[in-house]
């Protein structure tokens, strides 16, 4: 399946885009998505290794199955405050 992932901050800057489309097997988990994104976007790979994913407005765990009906985002280490 094809998954759209929103990018923010340094990830957006490194990819030169607000979002990327990534192909992953059906029923893949977020760990698999991270691998596929890193392979497709080498400039992002270091930051992906330190990032989490979110579905909608909640963090997900690496072992969670991707729900492609939700808005998926890559959340690099945060620095608000």
């Amino acid at each position: 399946m094809n998954v759209r992932v929103l990018l923010f901050a340094g990830a957006r800057e490194a990819a030169g885009a607000d979002a990327v489309q990534v192909d992953v097997p059906a029923d893949a988990d977020y760990a698999r998505l991270a691998e596929a994104m890193a392979a497709q976007q080498p400039a992002l790979s270091e930051l992906i290794g330190r990032s989490r994913f979110a579905e909608g407005t909640r963090y997900v765990a690496p072992g969670d199955t991707i729900d492609p009906s939700t808005e998926i985002a890559l959340i690099p280490p945060v620095s608000g405050g």
């Binding site: 923010f8 330190r50 979110a54 909640r58 808005e71 620095s79 608000g80 405050g81």
Partner: protein
């Protein structure tokens, strides 16, 4: 109350709203743009958010703080976009009948915000360089 804003944060109003007769103590925390970090000069900071998720995370933090401490008021406001030197990027206000609770809640809220809320800071250095900050939060 939680909010994201592109305008300067109205801290006077936040403190006034928290100063209610049921409270005996009000604590305001402001994170402001500091000029020097590790010897390097900052001209200003810029903040970006995953806005929908940041608002949801902030609302969860407010609810968790209200569960944990007897708060009269609890507000978290984060500014987005460019924040000049000495202006506030974030304001946390807690009020409670007794001061220990307001102090603890305000400290906990800013510590948690820095760990979990999807907001990012970009350094705009005085020498013209820019840099997104993605260190592990401390």
């Amino acid at each position: 109350m939680i909010a994201l804003t592109h305008q300067p944060i109205d801290t006077t109003k936040l403190v006034a709203d928290a100063s209610q007769p049921a409270a005996g103590a009000v604590v305001l925390f402001l994170g402001i743009t500091r000029e020097f970090t590790a010897g390097r000069q900052t001209r200003e900071l810029a903040y970006e958010a995953h806005a929908a998720m940041a608002e949801a995370e902030l609302a969860r933090l407010e609810a968790a703080a209200r569960d944990r401490w007897p708060l009269v008021a609890c507000s978290i406001v984060h500014r987005l976009g460019e924040v000049p030197l000495a202006e506030a990027s974030v304001a946390v206000v807690a009020s409670s009948p007794h001061r220990a609770d307001a102090f603890e809640a305000a400290r906990w809220l800013i510590d948690e915000l820095k760990q979990t809320v999807p907001i990012w800071k970009q350094e705009h250095y005085a020498d013209g360089e820019t840099e997104w900050v993605h260190n592990q939060p401390t």
